[in-house]
Symmetry: C2
Subunit: 267 residues, 2 copies
Amino acid sequence: MCQLLGMNANKPASIKFSFEGFVLRGGRTDEHRDGWGLAFFEGHACRTLHDCRPSADSPLVEHLHRHPVKSRNIIAHIRKATQGGLSLQNCHPFTRELWGQHWAFAHNGNLKNFDLRLSGRYLPVGETDSEHAFCYLLQELGHRFGALAPTTPELFEALVELSARVAAFGPFNFLLSNGSGLFAYCTTELHFVTRCYPFASVRVLDHDLQVDFGRYNHLDDCMSVIATKPLTSGEDWTAFAPGELRYFFDGAPTRKGVLRRQLAVSV
Amino acid sequence: MCQLLGMNANKPASIKFSFEGFVLRGGRTDEHRDGWGLAFFEGHACRTLHDCRPSADSPLVEHLHRHPVKSRNIIAHIRKATQGGLSLQNCHPFTRELWGQHWAFAHNGNLKNFDLRLSGRYLPVGETDSEHAFCYLLQELGHRFGALAPTTPELFEALVELSARVAAFGPFNFLLSNGSGLFAYCTTELHFVTRCYPFASVRVLDHDLQVDFGRYNHLDDCMSVIATKPLTSGEDWTAFAPGELRYFFDGAPTRKGVLRRQLAVSV
């Protein structure tokens, strides 16, 4: 399985401390050695970095230490391969365009015998269940809403339903962003924390480092960090409920929902 | 207007010397100061680097000097903005997926009042005529061939026709690749050179540097470099004819064509 890290903020922000702890899990403090990737938005543009090497030893990670990324929406992923070989085209986050917006997606989980049909509008380049699922989500959103982007509530409602459809095939925790906000869906394991004034002093777990966020933030800064497992102690991480989708905007969790299934009643 | 640089090779190769001269045109030896970009393929994956700053002063270019890219297909672009603001989403190369393949595209030219209709399958994220034209080409290819990739001859023939349709709106020189081969189309200015054994000793024009390619290549290496203006002296650059599309594969120009227009005869 893999691990996810996401960030949504009200102003372009760095995830330096979270990211530095996170990447150590890619081969140092944990076993996710099969590549890593990062997607971050600058305006409407989406930039991505991928590497097949373990993130703990990657020269590109070293480059990011020297030139930290600042963005309002970031998705990072470290990989422990379950489906698909160790190649760059299988490294998350995956990106596609829909409604004239770039979308980035990363998945933690394992979809077995996943066979929801792709019509051809979006097709996977690699061999992962994850990219297949991403193509399926965008295909269905495109099919449902046509060429015009829906409102956030409409989009949220559609994603709750489509995500549950995919999750019938296995664990399906994902992060998805179009650079405006960030969607996070959980079936088995996902946590988030929101950092606003007054900022806490926390311990970065994998780094064994104490950080006083009050020293690094302005009074009006606000950000949420979403991760498979909590990255710090000394602040309150909230666990997602199974089947829960949340939408983060301007640094805060603004919307959450679970699909209420209609029980089939046999007479 | 902008400048284009492309490379197609039979083995993953570096364009260090060509690129180093090329980027100097982004603000030092020429006026293309409005950003630059690079797309290169590794296996089926496509990596991109973009910067809004002049390439001659970009820290990312400095990073590329230290970690040179090796690839069988590379597309680079330096921008002098004609349409669309100075933002990252307007920097070439643009990328999209079609037939489960990543496609990268960069354009030199200026399409005036370009209004060929986009149905919504591909929509521009930025404001350039170039991204609009790229979306149009892929939309029409998808429309014509469906979900299955055509053969190279079929694709070539379709691109000759579609490119001419776009070129009716203005200068339309472009590079296009799916990581397998590289298409290059010219209406006003484009040149290429093919480097195979015996390799020449050439002068890199913008760098004022003498390079003996025999020292950097194996006997069986073969590559073609395509550029708006020749980058070297001491080797034979071929000018594209107006309206000419060429396809480069395994380092060599393997196919060329011009649309033969049916003249309307009035009786």
